[in-house]
């Protein structure tokens, strides 16, 4: 092992800093035509007419597709189900005249160039019959329901345990509050886009912004009834996604439709405002109650969430489950309901569900600590969970206690004056807050291929993606270590539907899943090479077995006498191969899944400074102590956590998509009015990786890092704002008006 565990710069770094990396909307072809989408102006209703004559008359316009003239293809709703679709009937672009959400595409203009397509789109007149719509969760929550069909991969809340009502009533100290989080949008920097290259004879190559090329591949073949071999989807670089690229979107369907109909290459890129109609983090209202003994022991936890979904799909995520396992408690009642809005279906967004539920739980824990006059960290240690209360299973590993200790020490938590408004510097009130973060550690079944080339270099391949997470780099590290090669001798190929099967990149599972598959196939390759080497005439390794040899620098050598070796190339040739390619599939251990719970944990400590008169808030210091198993690459790992923390700061103080309920439309659909953190908003972020051995979650010992950085951060900031100002804001984001109001 020489690479795993050491800080390595990204292997795709040069491509990204020189502009050589190409993203979905940047591929081209000599016959490329450009599509531009016309979006619905109403939230609910039906299209009465689409006047396209003026657009068609514009020189350079090739076609205008609407529901009235779209080509006939497989249009059953089931054909639109993708790998991560929630239960329901997925949206079908240009299927019929019905409008299900504002921003829904109602026409696609295709022209010789982008300017003409955009110009022509502005000439299209759409007349609607508008139906009454409802986009306000506060109204619709009265009609909230428990979804009858559960979403694959999302555990519904566990059944109640103990008697939470009685325990809460009997608890000497309790908190009961409502905590809500505004809708948010992913806003990756790269606009969603699909470039479909017409290869002739019904074959297409699709460059799509997607977190799993095979998800788009299956979607296209199902929707358009194409043979699998006639479609190839590529996504070697994804300019951010954070969940927005998990599901194939309508620009993909429309670009493919146009390409097949026109028999030429077509690109459809969305504008920033059109991207607000792809999906969002659902608005969520939590009702949270905690009851405790006078010494801080939790007696009751009650947590119910109501979250928005659409009228056509029951989008679900795990919001309340965390409250049943974060702390030790015998009386727990959890509930999760949906309320339908006339809006697009929500879409998984970084750590879907967790920061919403944990904002409620960790805010309530903080409120409880003040009622108990107990340090918030001490309250959490007092209720430390040694087993998963939801299942009764032990954890595969849990070094949260060490994370609390190391984080508190680095932050200087012991110097905190617990009194709100007690710390001040100049005109700024200073607040210190903390919270716990939890996310699932998962591994998914994944296949990988390893190919030893004639020149001794290695190619490893699996269909997964790198959305900025560092997949290319860690796979190169893993493969190089497994085969005893230099990282420079390893070529990683991902983001291609024709490669061995991989799930979408998401859920923080890619390092454990793709990483384990790559390691396993490399080990298989070693076995094969050794077999060939042993069977060579007069082989120096004739009697050697795996434990007798090393694989380094392209040689299989005897441990006892490294001068006796066979090169990989000679071994391959002896086996009759010019190159050697093997495939292997790895899956999580079902016994572990049945008997253990596996989570990553974090302890987040933050300092906020609040201008007392103006209410301006700054997060000046964050210490995030993370227990996530083995860290493959401390450099890219730290970046994952920093990014998650920045998202937590955005969730706490800035991010909010406003809906005009009269129009049923998101109003601030641009980056000037939808605020994401900018450089000046971000100060010191200190990341600690706590030592944690985990031999169960995955063969690699990794637990994943993509989500954990955001979970708990918003709650820690809200708690710090209370400590600074004495104001408890239970409604994110915490904007100036709420602090000085």
């Amino acid at each position: 092992m020489t690479y795993i565990g050491t800080p390595r710069s990204r292997v795709d770094g040069r491509a990204k800093v020189t502009g050589a990396a190409r993203y979905a909307g940047e591929f081209t072809a000599p016959d490329l035509a450009h599509g531009y989408i016309v979006s619905s102006a109403v939230a609910k209703g039906r299209v009465l007419s689409v006047e396209t004559e003026a657009a068609r008359a514009l020189p350079g316009v090739l076609e205008v597709f609407t529901h009235e003239n779209r080509p006939g293809t497989a249009w059953l709703s089931g054909n639109y189900q993708d790998e991560v679709a929630p239960p329901g009937a997925p949206f079908r672009p240009l299927y019929d005249s019905q409008i299900q959400f504002s921003g829904q595409p109602v026409a696609l203009v295709v022209a010789e160039d982008f300017d003409t397509a955009r110009d022509a789109a502005s000439l299209i007149r759409v007349t609607y019959e508008a139906y009454p719509h409802q986009t306000d969760l506060h109204v619709q929550r009265a009609k909230a329901y428990v979804p009858s069909k559960k979403r694959d991969g999302i555990d519904p809340p566990p059944p109640p345990r103990g008697d939470a009502d009685a325990a809460l009533a009997a608890a000497p100290v309790s908190v009961r509050q409502e905590y809500s989080i505004a809708p948010e949008h992913h806003n990756p920097m790269e606009p969603h886009a699909s470039t479909v290259i017409w290869e002739g004879e019904g074959k297409i190559t699709v460059h799509d912004k997607i977190q799993g090329a095979q998800n788009s591949h299956n979607y296209i073949t199902n929707v358009f009834g194409l043979a699998k071999e006639n479609v190839r989807v590529l996504s070697p670089y994804v300019g951010g996604a954070f969940g927005s690229g998990l599901r194939p979107h309508h620009q993909l369907a429309l670009a493919v439709m146009a390409s097949l109909a026109l028999k030429r290459s077509v690109r459809v890129s969305l504008t920033r405002d059109q991207m607000f109609a792809l999906g969002y983090r659902p608005m969520t209202i939590n009702t949270m109650a905690l009851g405790a003994d006078a010494d801080g022991g939790l007696r009751a936890v009650q947590h119910e969430a109501v979250a928005s979904t659409s009228t056509y799909e029951d989008y679900q995520e795990a919001v309340v489950n965390w409250s049943g396992l974060a702390y030790r408690c015998d009386n727990v009642k959890l509930g999760y309901k949906l309320a339908q809005l006339d809006a697009v279906t929500p879409l998984d967004m970084r750590a879907p569900g967790a920061p919403l539920g944990m904002f409620a739980l960790e805010s309530a824990m903080d409120e409880l600590s003040y009622k108990l006059k107990m340090d918030p960290l001490e309250l959490r240690l007092r209720n430390y969970a040694e087993i998963d209360g939801n299942t009764g299973h032990p954890f595969t590993s849990k070094e949260l206690r060490a994370a609390y200790r190391q984080g508190a020490e680095r932050f200087g938590w012991s110097r905190r004056n617990p009194e709100p408004r007690s710390m001040k510097e100049g005109r700024e009130l200073i607040g210190w807050g903390m919270a716990t973060g939890i996310w699932e550690a998962q591994m998914q079944q994944t296949s990988a291929r390893a190919t030893l080339m004639p020149d001794g270099t290695l190619e490893v391949a699996t269909a997964t993606a790198d959305i900025g997470t560092g997949t290319y780099t860690i796979l190169a590290q893993i493969a190089a270590d497994a085969m005893g090669l230099a990282m420079e001798q390893v070529m990683v190929r991902i983001g291609d539907s024709s490669l061995p099967t991989s799930p979408v990149e998401g859920g923080s599972w890619t390092a454990a899943s793709a990483g384990s598959a790559v390691q396993a196939v490399c080990y298989k390759l070693r076995d094969e090479l050794l077999n060939h080497a042993r069977s060579m005439p007069d082989s120096p390794l004739a009697n050697a077995s795996l434990q007798h040899v090393t694989f380094t620098e392209g040689r299989i050598a005897l441990r006892s006498d490294p001068a006796r070796f066979v090169t990989y190339s000679d071994a391959m040739r002896a086996g009759g191969h010019r190159m050697l390619s093997l495939e292997q599939t790895t899956s999580p251990d079902p016994n572990v899944q049945k008997t253990y719970s596996s989570y990553t944990h974090a302890a987040v400590f933050v300092e906020v400074r609040v201008d007392e008169e103006l209410g301006v808030m700054r997060v000046t210091r964050v210490v995030d102590a993370v227990a996530a198993g083995k860290i493959l690459n401390p450099k890219t790992a730290r970046s994952q956590i920093i990014g998650g923390v920045v998202w937590g700061i955005g969730m706490a103080l800035e991010e909010e998509t406003f809906t005009d309920h009269a129009l049923g439309r998101f109003m601030n659909h641009n980056l000037a009015e939808y605020h994401v953190p900018v450089n000046a908003d971000i100060h010191e972020i200190d990341v600690i990786f706590v030592e944690e051995e985990d031999d169960k979650t995955s063969p690699l010992g990794v637990k994943g890092l993509g989500e954990i950085g955001i979970v708990g951060t918003a709650a820690a900031i809200a708690n710090a704002v209370f400590h600074a100002t004495g104001k408890r804001i239970r409604d994110l984001p915490i904007t100036i008006d709420k602090v000085i109001g």
Binding site: S9, T18, V126, T127, Y128, G239, G240, G468, W647, N679
Partner: protein
């Protein structure tokens, strides 16, 4: 039933406006990454679209097309600008440097490109060309003397991956090394 007629985001009178399209475009000259180019552009074509769509220089990114995100930042006569807000026709005679023009001919990277890789100052890479071009302009301006001023003066370039601390570290290192040009 009353109908609503609308084309979101478009002027109601757009259909009535006569659009004049110079058949071959308007001739301009730009020096792009050191190469002088005679071009014919439409009056409405932005510098960004010219670079990406017509010259295949896709290193310059389109993130919002409204001057709100900074992904399209290029150097125009040495100054950082949002190329999505610049009509190409108004820049006749200008010198444009894009991300593709920062590395030396022998392939060796600009100090800021090196520092971005070394400090892991990006994740997905989409805002990165704009960040780097912006940082080149920033160091030339000479107004940033510490990390706080870098943060402030780099706030026109959004990084949704949240690589800001590493972006600041990369720029601060190059600033201290004096490798601005």
């Amino acid at each position: 039933m009353p109908g609503i007629s609308a084309s979101p985001g478009q002027l109601a009178s757009a259909a009535a406006l006569p659009v004049s399209r110079p058949a071959d475009g308007i001739p301009i000259t730009l020096t792009i990454n050191g190469t002088r180019r005679q071009l014919a552009v439409q009056p409405w074509t932005t510098l960004l679209d010219l670079l990406r769509e017509e010259l295949n220089l896709t290193g310059t990114k389109k993130g919002c097309d409204h001057g709100q995100c900074g992904a399209c930042t290029v150097l125009l006569d040495g100054q950082r600008i949002n190329s999505c807000l610049a009509l190409a026709v108004t820049k006749d005679g200008a010198e444009v440097t894009t991300i593709e023009g920062l590395a030396k001919a022998d392939g060796s990277l600009h100090p800021l490109q090196e520092a971005f890789v070394e400090h892991d100052a990006f994740q997905c890479g989409y805002c990165t060309p704009g960040q780097i071009c912006s940082a080149v302009g920033l160091l030339r301006e000479g107004h940033a003397h510490n990390a706080d001023e870098i943060r402030e003066l780099m706030s026109g370039n959004i990084c949704r991956c949240g690589a800001y601390p590493n972006i600041v570290a990369a720029i601060e290192q190059v600033r201290q090394d004096g490798g601005a040009a």
